[in-house]
């Protein structure tokens, strides 16, 4: 359903003294999701991943520049097409409750999202009620204000907002941040449910463990770019993971006894070659020459010269 090729996002900003500075936050990002799939995008907490969701919706701030090819349902995703699809076929589940207007009642806001997704005025009240009961929210919650919601309820309201319509692609931005394990599992369960009904779900998170519970495929994101695409089952044993960064991540999981920490890898415009040379055991002379492309390997992909 969604196919991203070589996406890059750059920001221009002014620093102290009004000096102009352009930072490249995302570069060479490749991603594919099929209907019914939950694709997790995993990486360290940082601006890169959340920006992906905003970029896909075309709502980045004015000082951002996006390059690359994005295909949605086979056709290119142009800004014009985006403004028609936003909220209708592509929906966002935001990260925090601040995405809701503190002065408006929750029910009103969900209803508005429903209207924007194409539901008629007549059908909106029933649709909203249905969405609320689907996520086990009492009817009276609709009359509450955002600050009255608990963490778990907030998460459910935000999910309801995104699913009240008929969106086929759901972008979930850090759905488990700040939640206790039970609520987190519940939230992920909702996402799995959505995928099982045929939608495509993009799950952006830094928490691999919880992501692996529901994800079908995993894209590993580091230093602004995709380093590996793997199936969820590849994470069950050590041998299947191809990229040193992914392995390091896997090792660091509590279940795998917190083995080793990794020096943070930065890629600047001055870096030539693969930035992961220092931690890779397959490293050789060719690694220092050029940045590796994303190659197919087995049933996944990896950014490595030696795949």
């Amino acid at each position: 359903m969604l196919d991203i090729q070589d996406l890059s996002i750059r920001f221009t900003r002014y620093t102290f003294g009004l000096k102009k500075k352009e930072t490249c936050v995302v570069q060479g990002l490749d991603l594919s999701i099929a209907p019914g799939q939950v694709m997790a995008v995993i990486g360290q907490s940082g601006a890169g991943k959340s920006l992906l969701a905003h970029a896909l919706l075309g709502i980045l701030p004015r000082n951002a520049r996006v390059e690359g090819r994005i295909l949605f349902k086979g056709k290119p995703l142009t800004p014009e097409r985006l403004s028609a699809l936003r909220g209708r076929e592509i929906a966002l589940i935001p990260q925090s409750i601040t995405a809701l207007n503190p002065l408006l009642r929750v029910g009103v806001q969900v209803a508005r999202a429903a209207r924007l997704s194409g539901i008629s005025k007549k059908d909106t009240p029933t649709t909203v009620n249905r969405a609320f009961s689907r996520y086990l929210l009492q009817k009276e919650v609709a009359t509450w204000f955002p600050f009255q919601l608990s963490g778990g309820m907030a998460r459910r309201v935000l999910t309801a907002t995104a699913t009240v319509g008929m969106a086929d692609l759901i972008l979930a931005d850090e759905p488990t941040s700040g939640l206790d394990p039970t609520t987190a599992r519940e939230a992920l369960g909702h996402l799995r449910e959505l995928a099982d009904t045929g939608k495509a779900v993009l799950l952006i998170t830094h928490d691999i463990e919880t992501a692996l519970q529901v994800a079908d495929m995993v894209t590993v994101f580091c230093a602004g770019t995709t380093v590996e695409v793997a199936g969820a089952e590849d994470f069950k044993g050590f041998g299947q993971l191809r990229h040193p960064y992914t392995r390091a991540l896997w090792n660091a999981l509590p279940a795998n006894s917190f083995v080793g920490t990794m020096k943070p890898v930065e890629r600047t415009s001055n870096t030539i070659g693969c930035p992961f040379q220092s931690i890779c055991n397959k490293q050789d002379a060719t690694c220092g020459l050029s940045s590796p492309p994303l190659k197919h390997s087995g049933n996944g992909r990896v950014r490595c010269h030696h795949a």
């Binding site: 207007n101 002065l103 508005r112 204000f145 600050f147 907002t161």
Partner: protein
């Protein structure tokens, strides 16, 4: 819960009046201006010191300040604000009559500047950095830097002197008494002063609203709304309006003081016989009872505005409602 709010506010008002009364009395007493001399004015040379003493005694000026304050405060508590030395009428009736004249001027200007200012601010904020925004900003910044009385003078020169469309002074045609003047005539005389006040009053609320609109459009909820497919206009009118209107309304109510001040200047330029002009007269000619009376009256006036601002804030913002528990 509302009653508790009201009781608290009433107590506040009483304390406020007490504080302002004391403060003004102290200020007025430390003035080097001798009220007797001010009253006598040009006739000073012809009046003997004995006659001056008689006047002073009549006004109780020969008593020590504390006793004078006590007498004055006591009288004030019963509603007697003394007699104006300029008009030889009870202060209360002077204020009453003049206020009615000023009221229409201020009401018209306040509504106009509030509505227009809010609207312009919304437009400027929603269309940030466009030519329209720059134009509105330029207008607002210019007006914020322009003295009210100068605007009045320019309007006077253009519309009254050059074009002759509006009268040069006063609240109704000179020569007529208040009762003889018709509504239309009053309105005619009201136009320029009201226009003066509106033109200038718009600036602050426009800029403030614009700032709040821009903030709202950059907030998390605006971004989320955009993600749902909401257009900028939609965000402004369906989502952010309350967030922007609340501080705007608050500001507008709290600006009654500036409004009165503007009225003082505008009335001076157009010789409009309202309370503003009377204040100036009282100050220059040293009419202490009247001046003190006006200070107290305007205190109540401004208090009402601030009260409304607070009330509305607590009423509309659900977070504060819960937090203070003053209003459920």
């Amino acid at each position: 819960m509302i009653t508790r709010f009201l009781v608290v506010k009433t107590c506040r008002l009483i304390l406020l009046i007490a504080a302002v009364a004391t403060l003004s009395f102290v200020l007025v007493n430390s003035s080097p201006v001798n009220p007797v001399d001010a009253y006598v004015g040009a006739a000073m040379l012809r009046i003997s010191p004995d006659q001056r003493e008689v006047i002073a005694k009549r006004w109780g000026l020969d008593r020590p300040p504390v006793e004078r304050f006590g007498r004055w405060a006591g009288q004030m508590a019963t509603g007697n604000l003394g007699v104006s030395t300029i008009f030889n009428e009870p202060v209360l009736s002077v204020i009453g009559k003049r206020f009615v004249t000023s009221f229409w001027l201020m009401a018209l200007a306040w509504s106009l500047s509030g509505a227009l200012g809010f609207g312009l601010g919304l437009i400027a904020g929603a269309r940030e950095d466009t030519l329209l925004d720059r134009g509105i900003r330029l207008y607002a910044y210019t007006m914020a830097s322009t003295p009210t009385f100068w605007v009045g003078m320019i309007l006077l020169m253009i519309f009254s002197v050059s074009l002759g469309w509006t009268p040069v002074c006063c609240a109704w045609p000179p020569g007529l008494s208040a009762e003889q003047a018709t509504q239309w005539q009053r309105l005619h005389h009201l136009l320029l002063p009201a226009l003066t006040l509106s033109l200038v009053g718009i600036a602050q609320i426009t800029l403030h609203t614009r700032e709040k609109t821009i903030q709202a459009l950059r907030s998390d909820y605006a971004i989320f709304a955009r993600a749902q497919g909401e257009s900028t206009v939609g965000i402004v009118f369906r989502r952010a309006l309350r967030n922007v209107a609340l501080p705007a309304v608050t500001l507008q109510f709290a600006s009654l003081g500036e409004l009165f001040g503007g009225a003082v200047l505008a009335e001076q330029v157009f010789a409009y016989p309202g309370l503003g002009r009377t204040t100036v007269e009282a100050g220059i000619r040293g009419d202490i009872p009247l001046l003190l009376g006006i200070v107290l009256f305007s205190t109540i006036f401004v208090f009402t505005g601030n009260f409304m601002a607070d009330f509305i804030y607590h009423l509309v913002d659900p977070r504060l409602r819960k937090a203070t528990g003053a209003i459920s």
